[in-house]
Amino acid sequence: MAETIKVAERLGLGLAIVQARKGIDADAIGHALGIDLKDGPGRIGDANLSTIGTSPGSWFVMGEQASDDWAERIAVTVRGLASVFDQSSGYCVLSLSGPAARTLLQAGAPVDLDPHQFPIGASASTSIAHIVVLLWRTGEDSFDLAFYRSYRESLEHWLTDAMGAL
């Protein structure tokens, strides 16, 4: 069963928390960033730039193949509209894929991952093995999860045990 799950770290990502300034709505920020930003959970965007709403007026923003000054450039782009907090080193992002990926994550997360309840693009802030995790579905059999980098060994320990138990 364990062979039917692939775990890979997503490297080279630019990550940031973007929080709207007072009186500024998602549209204005989205317009500046060039994406259709919305308030609410769920992932919007593409590999180049995507966002996940984590609370009112606050988004977890990601960009692939990010330059060293990625977060600073985002900050310049949304100056006056939002505050930007670089998290490129703060989170570890893992991809889990394969026919058993959903079952594995369901063992750890108390969130309904049924494809009808959690389709591609859905996101949830939840916890796995006492570690706070931001989880989103990227494909029929694939999910990404982001969590504080310091918890990495503990989360991987849980992954190993849970995969062995399936």
Binding site: A20, Q87, A129, S150, A165
Partner: protein, 983 residues
């Protein structure tokens, strides 16, 4: 052997060897330990808890009170396991419990002779005199005699895992009502989970000889199970016990995945399920109620339905010559099953006035049918004779070795009261029903008091149909099945004249006399009855005893049972092993660990680690040959003060506060002012709680007009983030300010010592670290190896020092670079112990001083509190008692004798005078040996302390016995003028 040649659900082609109390036996696949023991003619299973009476199996299910054994040996031994639900496997080893030296000759059976003393509540009336004997004699004796079963005291070698599940309908129970419900809902496309704690679905159909649609009940069940398994939207969970109902429509369950196999191969033995169900059906059936008469606990007295189960499901015969004592119609079915199996049935003794229709058929088979009759006493070490009471006070005896008893049926509604609902008494059915339970938990079939098979099938389908309609808006078509409408009447029989002990609670040895005694002594509520007599408090939670006990109490107190009420069942419904609840989180993994970017670097350098909350922090870095940690730490401290050392301070909280009103918010959170802080400057700050007590301290740095960066202590990082979020989102939502934790984004290292700048300058080429450019309390942003970096000239140690931050992905690399460049300066790593030693030498407050009891004034920081602005905690700080100089205030203390150590936590009394609260001057918060001064020093809180420098006080440390005199002094022991930190 007592095994029928044919019949039952056992697999005779698959024999299994097992042992009980060391003796070898054989059973078959499909047996439980109980059925295999019965088939081998074993009647004695255990000894009762208090009186050590000989006991046999009473039931065939999870409600079993007597058949409690230990299965497995060594670390795998599981005590207090019910033999009735332990599936047999090859090589199973079982031991009886609660007897010494063995089951046949139990020395503690002497307790029976002391029965008049061991009545209910005896321990409230005994073991009191003489008082001195309590600790040395009575308590150890009671401790040895108490308890049921013994733990191996070895670590659990098995694995356990966990799963979450979500469904529209959770069906609890796999009998006919549950199967009908699951099928109805499953066919309509709803997400269904059906859970049964049995290995096979079918419930009562596996134990009875009933037909559905002309087929054997067990075959019907197998066919339904097959259809359920084939549906994608249905999950079938056998061997799974729903043990509790929780808030938020959550249900807890344990699946026994491989308990029935011997080797685990590393696979989890059990799995904890947390199921969220929009609705649930309680199809848990009913538990047969015993009758309370003399000697009703003798081996050979068994529930009638259990006898049927052993005969029909396991082809095991529990006796040679049987009688049935019943007040129900179902008891007669057992007589018919015994006759069908070829067992000699001497009589059916029915307490009711009229005999049911079945009587004719049984009389025709040679069974004596008595009405208006009761069994008064059962006799024999193992049952061999009963005394029957007839109309008109006549009695007669009958020789039998098996007596099936049936006093009625109690719906298994325990789960329905987990959230607080109380069952209500039904006079019509003479039992408790759940009428006001959780809205989305629906009892059906026997669990709802609908005891016939036909009702169960109808109920399950109808209730599921209503649930489906509520969820989908469409009423599904309901399946229907044909079966006999069997008789299910009963008449309660609560009180029977008896001469020998009549048991109510078998597992806790509570007798009918105990209930009367409790009532006479004034324990007249069912809640009192439970705790005073311990009725219902054993591992079976009174499944076979509660109702009888409550009925007897009601009679003794002149109330109706409805008035007396009953207690609420608590989860878990049946015992759950703690390993299943812990799952992955055991031993070192009981909580996650947080590691800094340089953790492995430090481990490779020989660091000894400690826990700081969830973080691992290096305590010290011992070198080979160092005698103990003090030698290591004093070396590290001297190295920092004379050369350069590096401490990983990445665990401290780091928060960014941005926005036009960031400065305003900080002014309202800290006691001092930050809106006026210049860009590129850092300032020490203190935050108070609303009540004026210090919440946390740290450094605030301004990098831009609208960009601040602040640090917190490791322990309070989360709390301060919450505090800031609450302030900006709830208290002052009109402010334009944003904030986020960046604790994980940055690695921070304190580089301290006279050589610190030299080392840093050779590593950080992108920035000018001269004093002119970066003075004390200055801060700069720059880049290192292309990525963002920051440097702050702040000092906790009192030496020239810097805190350098790089993005965490470069943390380890920076540490390596510092040590490569610092090698020629004798650079050393240092940990939390040295950090503590150095900060005490400088009189800096830290965790022991910020202990949730001290105010800013107590810490000597009263003058930092701004008088020009309001801030959280200001108002309550100004209360007279909070501002009084009489409060213990921070000062230094030093040892007065050579080699004298100081004990942190000790209090300080006036030197001459009694050790009384009135003479208590304060307490010692932090202590250390000071290499710089070559004696012990400390920080203490002393009444009016700063005005008493030079005074001597006496240590008061009664718990540890430390003594001595200290002298009050300034807390700044090293470099009081602060020259070193400014370079």
């Amino acid at each position: 052997m007592s095994r029928l040649a044919t019949g039952g659900l056992i697999d005779r082609s698959h024999p299994l060897s097992f042992s009980f109390d060391g003796k070898p036996f054989t059973g078959y696949a499909g047996d439980t330990l109980a059925s295999a023991l019965i088939a081998n003619g074993i009647r004695l299973i255990g000894r009762s808890f208090k009186y050590h009476r000989r006991r046999g199996l009473l039931t065939a299910g999870g409600e079993e009170p007597n058949g409690i054994v230990t299965i497995g040996s060594g670390a795998y031994a599981e005590p207090n396991t019910r033999a009735t639900t332990a599936w047999l496997y090859e090589g199973l080893e079982a031991q009886s419990q609660n007897r010494w030296p063995n089951l046949a000759f139990d020395a503690l059976a002497v307790n029976q002779w002391l029965a008049p003393i061991f009545v209910a509540g005896f321990y409230y009336k005994t073991f009191m005199w003489p008082a001195a004997l309590w600790e040395k004699l009575y308590e150890p004796l009671i401790r040895r005699a108490a308890g049921l079963g013994a733990l191996s005291a070895l670590p659990d070698p098995d694995q356990y895992d966990r799963m979450h599940a979500f469904c529209d309908l959770l069906v609890i129970g796999g009998g006919p009502a549950g199967l009908a419900a699951a099928l109805t809902a499953g066919r309509s496309g709803c997400r269904v989970i059906i859970a049964s704690d049995d290995a096979q679905l079918g419930g009562r159909l596996l134990s009875e000889r009933q037909e559905i649609n002309g087929r054997e009940g067990r075959d019907w069940a197998a066919e339904i199970e097959g259809e359920l398994t084939s549906l994608d939207n249905v999950t079938v969970l056998p061997r799974t016990q729903i043990f509790g109902v929780y808030d938020g429509q959550e249900y807890g369950a344990v699946e026994r995945r491989i308990d029935h196999l011997r080797a685990s191969n590393g696979k989890p033995r059990q799995r904890l399920w947390k199921i969220h169900a929009r609705s649930a059906i309680l199809a848990t059936g009913a538990i047969e109620r015993p009758l309370v008469f003399g000697g009703n606990d003798r081996p050979g007295v068994m529930m009638a339905s259990a006898i049927s189960t052993y005969l029909n499901r396991f082809a095991a015969v529990p006796g040679q010559r049987a009688a049935i004592f019943t007040s129900t119609d179902s008891g007669w079915q057992t007589a018919a099953d015994l006759v069908h199996a070829g067992v000699n049935v001497a009589a059916v003794i029915d307490s009711r006035t009229a005999l049911p229709a079945r009587a004719r058929e049984l009389a025709g088979a040679g069974v004596e049918c008595l009405s208006n009759a009761v069994v008064q006493d059962a006799h024999g070490r193992s049952l061999r004779r009963i005394t029957i009471g007839l109309e008109g006070s006549r009695t007669r005896t009958l020789d039998v070795d098996l007596l099936g008893i049936s006093g009625g049926w109690n719906p298994s509604i325990g789960l329905a009261s987990n959230l607080g609902a109380k069952p209500s008494w039904s006079d019509r059915l003479s039992t408790f029903l759940m009428e006001g339970g959780p809205a989305d938990l629906h009892p059906v079939g026997s669990a709802a008091g609908h005891f016939s098979l036909a009702e169960a099938l109808r109920d399950g389908a109808q209730v599921a149909g209503r649930i489906v309609e509520n969820l989908t808006g469409q009423a599904p078509s309901l399946p229907q099945w044909r079966c006999d409408d069997e008789a299910t009447d009963s008449a309660p029989l609560w009180h029977i004249e008896h001469r020998t002990k009549a048991f109510v609670d078998f597992q806790h040895d509570v007798t009918a006399d105990d209930v009367s005694l409790a009532a006479r002594e004034g324990f007249v509520s069912v809640e009192h009855l439970k705790r005073y007599t311990t009725l219902g408090m054993a591992t079976d939670q009174g499944k076979t005893s509660q109702v009888n006990g409550h009925a007897l109490l009601a009679a003794a107190t002149g109330k109706s049972i409805s008035e007396a009420g009953t207690i609420r069942s608590r989860p878990p419904y049946l015992p759950v092993t703690i390993g299943a609840l812990a799952g992955h989180h055991r031993e070192a993994s009981y909580r996650p660990r947080r590691l800094t970017a340089a953790h492995h670097w430090a481990a490779a350098r020989g660091a000894t680690f400690t826990d700081a909350g969830l973080w691992r922090r290096a305590r010290w870095f011992a070198r080979p040959g160092e005698r103990d940690w003090t030698e290591t730490v004093y070396r590290e401290a001297e190295a920092v003060r004379s050369g350069v050392g590096v401490c990983d301070v990445s665990t401290l909280g780091k928060i960014e506060v941005h926005g036009p009103d960031a400065g305003t918010l900080l002014d309202r959170l800290y006691i001092n002012t930050f809106s006026s802080l210049a860009i590129g400057k850092a300032r020490y700050g203190v935050m108070l709680r609303e009540d004026g007590i210090v919440l946390d301290d740290g450094t605030v740095t301004r990098f831009d007009e609208d960009r601040f960066y602040l640090t917190t202590t490791t322990a309070n990082a989360g709390k301060v983030m919450q505090h800031i979020d609450f302030a900006r989102q709830v208290i002052w939502p009109e402010l334009d300010v944003q904030a986020a934790s960046v604790s994980e984004q940055w690695s921070t290292y304190a580089v301290a010592g006279p050589k610190s700048r030299d080392v840093l300058q050779s590593v950080l080429s992108g920035i000018d670290l001269s004093d002119a450019v970066l003075p004390f309390m200055g801060a700069r942003e720059f880049r290192w190896r292309g990525k963002p970096a920051r440097i702050f000239r702040v000092s906790f140690s009192g030496e020239r020092a810097y805190e350098v931050c790089v993005v965490a992905s470069l943390g380890e690399a920076l540490m390596e670079a510092l040590f490569e460049a610092g090698d020629r300066y004798g650079i050393i790593p240092y940990g939390t112990e040295t950090q503590t030693l150095l900060r005490i030498e400088k009189g800096h407050a830290a965790g022991p001083e910020l202990n949730g009891q001290t105010s800013a004034a107590d810490l000597g920081l009263g003058r930092m509190m701004s008088k020009k602005k309001d801030f959280i905690g200001r108002a309550l700080s100004e209360r007279p008692a909070m501002a009084s100089p009489e409060r213990p205030t921070l000062v230094g203390i030093k040892a007065t004798a050579k080699g004298q150590k100081l004990p942190a936590g000790a209090h300080l009394m006036v030197d001459k005078g009694a050790a009384t609260p009135a003479n208590n001057q304060g307490w010692i918060s932090s202590v250390t040996y000071s290499p710089a001064l070559d004696h012990w020093i400390g920080i203490a809180f002393i009444k009016n302390g700063p005005a008493r420098l030079g005074e001597r006080l006496r240590i008061y440390d009664p718990v540890r016995g430390n003594e001595g005199i200290v002298e009050i002094c300034s807390p700044i022991f090293v470099d009081p003028e602060g020259k070193r930190v400014r370079g």
